[in-house]
Symmetry: C4
Subunit: 238 residues, 4 copies
């Protein structure tokens, strides 16, 4: 690979990171290069319309770019315990590091509880020296508070221990719904950072499909879960 | 064994899979061939009417068929964490694979929230190429949505990594009660798939006994659990 | 040791097993022979009136009897996950088996939700062949339903795999409060089974002290826990 | 190091221990000597105002004192499971023991539910023989009941198994809010015990900043958590 950069867009607030990453993969015709399964993902399998099932997973795609290669991680789910999050983050870094990745950009949403017409892209870097690198592309630093939950924060921090460069980019978002507008802001900034030329026209439409898809799965999974538990704490039937 | 097929009927929605599998074992005079215990099953033991206790367990039965042997897994319970579900599924496959099993059929219920007079059997296969194999017996594919929770989905998907053929058959069911009608549909389809000739006359009666038994155990276990916790989150007495 | 029998009286329904076991230790002047700690016990330490603290623990006492030695396990707490219950049960059996223990009697309460003036002792054995051994002493078999939760059931069942003889004796009890009457019934039966001559006069008084002690610790621990959590699900302060 | 004493001030009731320990580090110009991370801490990273993020962690500081060196542990968080608490406590002892630490003083709050104008310092030692050592400095023993939850109790008790001297000092506190007054009492007693001369003038102000900081992080983390869960028990988005 040519000096690859690693982009992570796993599910999170407003689905912002996931929508942006999936959109880039589609637009830039990314190729699937690896799949990550974990026994710490929920023990569910997803049923597809074509009569088949598939596991919950995370997927690595490779986008060949003129300037440099882009390795993008997207997925259905993140692990649910601290121990599993740490373990999986370690595995992800073990995978990308030998490929020559020296820079990591994780994507996410920053929930504000407000509807924001022109969502900005907020950043948080693993070290002060990297702030300027992204600021020049329009990322705003120093306006986020609190915690980044899950992979979007843990991957950069653990990458830091390996001497990598890393930042988390968060699109402002209401938080209560999937937000393609916020994902568009992310894509536009990534265009600049990575020298990409990804259009954002189809993002809204794709986001709707993606949100519908996720919501569908979750609603249906919840429905089947309810049939199993029936409000009981103790049930031998799982 | 003669080209064995593996059937899994663990507890789940409407007890459909468990009822169908147990009924076949009884009708076809299956022989107990192995027992599976796990420290990830609830730390309860079941008290029997004859004054003895027994552990929660899963059991493998062998049904000798003219065409091919049938290995059937039934049980009291499934594990409650993703990690344990993955581990136990691995152990199950480790057990059946060296016996020559190349085909897996897991059984379950598909909750609809409606009372269904003539429940259909819905299917989800691990790969498109297996859809046709079961469609011809009347299994309906492509009408299920959402997730299969637990062993009925995880066993087929992990079997896929071992190059096996696998499908999950789900009887339509309301979801709120044990459903022998749905289990009957499953049995009738399995008769066709496996060349069996299992009558369904006694299923309703057996289902009632089985449901009563399960409900009894669960109610009583819940009763004793309540005496232990008394609504407190913190209790040194477990 | 002289053909030792192992008695287990850990906390459970109505504190019946714990009260009976502790009473016998006191009356028969049992000597502390081993202590069991576990990282799966709650991460609390108990503060004593004399200004010192101590860990939550289980303790083994030895009662020298004319007929045969008696090894008695009592304690503050049981582990809270299935995996930990299995692990600790294994350790307990690893400890008692090389000492020559071939017989195990676990003690507990059987919750009925009713106040019972003359509580009977109900039994559940690991095998039909052991039912008669205890029936002759007045233990009633076949009247319990549902599940035994925790060590009182798991120790006998795992002992079974080691070829030992084991039974669980349960004193009938309301379930909502510590019940010395039920513990007295247990002690009287154990007197017969073990050829002991333990008086039950002081049990009520001891039970009151023991219940007060347990309740005190639990109430105070709960109080401090509440200060920590303040009804929040997320708190960095534990 | 010169006969070092180990002080532990992790988050807990009323933030008393944390406030006292951090104050001493600031006043006595403690130097950071080690950092402790754990995959059992929540999988969150903290965003700082300067546009960078940092991991949740515990930190060891060294205060050079005339009489003897003081090693002080403070941090954002404690682990949330018994198993992790035991493991981390072991690691802490593994770190301080080879440095020659023979004495451990853990700090905490003792919740009373009342506003206390002049909070006393209550103590609980690992053994009767150490009670007198701290009583002479004004620590009050024998007035605490119930349990010490987390590191403040577990570190001393596990240190006991290594033959160390250890005590937990608890400032009386209401329990519902961060309490600098209680922390001041702790600092004044530690001055006497350790021959320090730490002023308490700035503690109130520092406590306010520290409480604001903690509350801020927790509120913001909670906010982002809420965006993730939206009141659903089942969500593939974490």
């Amino acid at each position: 690979m040519k000096n690859p950069v690693f982009i992570c867009g796993l599910p999170g607030i407003g689905l912002v990171g996931k929508l942006a990453a999936e959109h880039i993969i589609k637009e830039a015709k990314g190729a699937l290069v690896a799949v990550l399964y974990s026994p710490s993902f929920p023990h569910h399998v997803i049923m597809r319309k074509n009569g088949t099932m598939r596991m919950l997973k995370n997927k690595f795609f490779l986008v060949r770019n003129n300037g440099r290669d882009i390795l993008i991680l997207v997925g259905d789910v993140q692990a649910m315990t601290p121990e599993a999050q740490y373990e999986i983050t370690g595995k992800i870094l073990d995978y990308i590091q030998p490929k020559g990745c020296r820079e990591i950009i994780t994507l996410g949403g920053y929930g504000t509880g407000k509807i924001i017409p022109a969502p900005r892209v907020l950043g948080s870097a693993i070290s002060k020296k990297f702030v300027a690198c992204y600021k020049k592309y329009g990322v705003i630093f120093g306006e986020t508070k609190g915690a980044i939950i899950g992979a979007a924060g843990l991957i950069p921090m653990l990458a830091r221990l390996r001497g990598m460069k890393a930042v988390c980019l968060m699109g402002e978002t209401h938080g209560a719904y999937a937000d393609p507008k916020s994902a568009q802001s992310i894509v536009l900034i990534l265009n600049k950072i990575l020298g990409l030329n990804v259009g954002i026209g189809k993002l809204e439409e794709r986001a709707k499909a993606s949100e519908r898809f996720m919501k569908n799965i979750e609603d249906e999974a919840k429905k089947q879960m309810n049939y199993l538990s029936k409000g009981d704490d103790l049930s031998y039937i799982r």
